[in-house]
């Protein structure tokens, strides 16, 4: 088993805007992480299943549809409900500042909104995720 950080990049809900998710997925892969991109139209249950199957260290949820206050907490709740509390959940997309506190209270570790760089995201993930070999 390699020591690579394993990241699932997921698109919850009906949102089809995948430009950001794809750019981040590629940047993380180029930075040496193991990246699994779920593709579009994932339910919270499907995302959690993928995260478990893929032994993810981090799950990054990309959402630009405005449904983040429903769908993002749902992912966190299902993870916790399965007794999983060591997967770091991140969110990104069209998430207004005034919603950040609520998402963080729900268990999202960090939120990356328009203007965030892949460099920042790589640095953050590297600092919080434990590689599999650790």
């Amino acid at each position: 088993m390699s020591g690579k950080i394993r990241v699932v990049i997921a698109k919850p809900g009906l949102d089809g805007h995948d430009r950001g998710a794809k750019v981040i997925a590629r940047a993380l892969r180029d930075a040496g992480m193991e990246v699994i991109y779920t593709g579009l139209h994932q339910t919270a249950e499907q995302i959690v299943e993928t995260a478990i199957q893929e032994d993810a260290d981090v799950v990054g949820l990309s959402i630009l549809s405005g449904a983040h206050l429903t769908l993002v907490p749902k992912v966190v709740r299902i993870l916790r409900g399965q007794g999983i509390d060591d997967i770091v959940v991140l969110a990104g997309g069209t998430i207004p500042d005034e919603d950040h506190d609520e998402l963080k209270r729900e268990g999202v570790a960090a939120i990356f909104t328009p203007g965030a760089t892949t460099g920042e995201i790589i640095e953050y993930i590297t600092s919080v995720a434990t590689g599999s070999a650790a």
Partner: protein, 552 residues
């Protein structure tokens, strides 16, 4: 008189001489698409070009200079702002506001459940209802959206693709209920499924049945709804996904040709449907690149339609298009700067000869537009139209050594892409191979890296950033709204007559299976109060669903 011309005789001489004796800034001089451009263009770049062959006059083949003879001297571009959120009443309110403020056409935004063919009470719709556009479950929602708006006096564009047949039927029946007949309504449905697989991703069914639905609309409208634009072949979303200007141009036109071929394969005469094909482009911030793109688009379409598809009706050669300013160019940081960006982009659309225009609002990176932001966006168009003078002269940039060179180059790049796509087996085959998706993902990644390295500047983000995030008032969709929409939908299901619903859905299923035109049974279903989700579920049972790939 002495001959005082003692300067360089050629561009090459000047580049090697006077130009090279000065330092140039350490900056990126490529277009926003990273296309190389020279410091200058001159008559030498126009050698061998023929005005009549390459340009022609406005309203004359090959239409490089504009699709109509009078252009904005005859009619200004339609100011058609995309709007929709929450429920029918909210959207009706915003429509009336925009019309009162001087908008000249309507454009309807539908929510994600509606775009994806799901009713508001579908489990997958949870949290999504009314957030990206208006929730539309039945014809009653459509009627309420247009309450007090006479559908024989205003044209409406609807951004719907996979379930376009159903939204069109909702619209036609809503018009009927206002006493307006099919042949009196005017408008557009986006109805461009190919670009969904490529970029926007609001697909439902696989390509083959989806193309059949599109040609059913061509045939139905050709006969019954003659003032309707049956499709808006789009580059906007392709560009938003990260494509370059040349890719936007090439992929959009390739999709257009694929639709022409689909119509012909379905047994339709090209001139029976081509005059009602329309297009939709992005207006990004590199003004000259965009103007060249629009001009090249008109010329390419005219040439292929006349020479390759042998369309005889000159209206089949016309590329009529709507333009939207580039959402992807806007920033969350210092959002007021977005008004400036949108202005430049709107100007590009106007200088490029667009037929209608949507200008983005300054707050759209954060949320759907507030009323105030939507007003500023509309005023931007009005200032351009009435104060700036750009509408006085048709195709004013024609003859610019730069613009003409760039127009030619964009056409040549598009033609190269057409060859590549043909080699892959055509658009549908190329989609299956992930060709467009990979091109777009690559271009998008290159651009992001260029921004992160600082080579491409984004004011307020990677230069001139202040780190200050002042609170901007944004539009919030009331959380209770979803519950009200669901209750309303359940009440509808309870009070309607069950047997016409069942009969209608069975007729629809049969038409899907036997290949007869789906529009008549969909209209029957609509009048019986079938919901969008019910009709789509019926269609899915015959057509199946499309599985997108996860290319990145």
């Amino acid at each position: 008189m002495d001959d005082v011309r003692d300067g360089s005789r050629t561009k090459a001489e000047w580049l090697a001489g006077a130009y090279s004796w000065q330092n140039t800034r350490d900056a990126d001089f490529t277009s926003v698409s990273s296309a190389e451009v020279e410091p200058i263009y001159d008559p030498g770049d126009r050698v061998g070009h023929d005005y009549h062959r390459e340009l022609g006059y406005p309203g004359e083949y090959p239409y490089t200079r504009g699709v109509h003879p009078t252009m904005y001297r005859g009619h200004l571009w339609t100011m058609r702002q995309f709007a929709g959120f929450g429920g029918a009443e909210d959207t009706n309110g915003r429509f009336r506001f925009l019309l009162d403020q001087g908008q000249t056409g309507l454009s309807l935004a539908l929510d994600l459940p509606t775009l994806m063919g799901r009713d508001s009470d579908d489990p997958r719709s949870e949290g999504e209802v009314g957030r990206c556009g208006v929730a539309m479950d039945s014809v009653l929602d459509m009627e309420r959206v247009f309450e007090g708006i006479p559908l024989d006096q205003v044209t409406v564009s609807m951004t719907t693709n996979a379930p376009a047949t159903i939204l069109l039927a909702f619209y036609l029946v809503a018009a009927e209920r206002q006493g307006v007949k099919h042949d009196q309504v005017g408008g557009t449905i986006q109805n461009d499924i190919l670009k969904e697989y490529i970029a926007q991703n609001t697909y439902i069914f696989p390509p083959e049945p989806s193309l059949r639905l599109i040609t059913d609309i061509f045939a139905f409208c050709g006969e019954h709804v003659p003032q309707w634009n049956t499709i808006s072949i789009s580059g906007y979303h392709i560009r938003e996904a990260g494509a370059t200007a040349a890719q936007e141009l090439a992929f959009t036109l390739a999709d257009g040709f694929a639709y022409v071929e689909a119509g012909i394969a379905a047994g339709l005469e090209v001139d029976s449907f081509a005059p009602r094909l329309s297009f939709f482009f992005n207006a990004h911030i590199d003004l000259f690149e965009e103007v060249a793109k629009f001009r090249a688009a008109r010329r390419i379409w005219a040439r292929h339609m006349r020479e390759r598809y042998r369309a005889k009706d000159p209206r089949s050669w016309l590329m009529r298009f709507h333009t939207q300013t580039a959402g992807c160019s806007l920033t969350a940081q210092q959002p007021e700067n977005n008004v400036v960006r949108t202005t430049i982009e709107a100007l590009a659309g106007v200088l490029g000869g667009t037929q209608s225009l949507h200008t983005n609002s300054l707050d759209e990176v954060l949320s759907l537009p507030t009323e105030r932001a939507a007003e500023i966006a509309l005023r931007t168009q009005q200032v351009l139209a009435y104060e700036s003078g750009v509408a006085n002269v048709i195709d004013p940039l024609a003859g610019s050594y730069y613009v003409e060179s760039l127009t030619d180059r964009m056409e040549a790049e598009a033609e190269e892409y057409f060859i590549k796509i043909e080699e892959l087996g055509g658009v549908v085959a190329a989609i299956a191979k992930g060709f467009f998706q990979q091109e777009i993902a690559d271009a998008s990644y290159r651009y992001q890296m260029a921004v992160e390295s600082g080579r491409k500047v984004v004011v307020g983000v990677n230069r001139f950033a202040t780190g200050v995030r002042p609170a901007v008032e944004t539009l919030r969709i009331d959380k209770e709204f979803e519950m009200r929409q669901v209750d309303s939908l359940r009440a509808l299901r309870e009070r309607r007559d069950a047997s016409p619903v069942a009969r209608g859905l069975e007729d629809l299923r049969a038409a899907c299976a036997d290949g007869t035109n789906v529009m008549p049974p969909i209209l029957e279903c609509t009048r019986a109060m079938c919901t969008l989700g019910e009709m789509v579920a019926t269609m899915k049972s015959v057509f199946g669903v499309y599985q997108g790939s996860a290319v990145f």
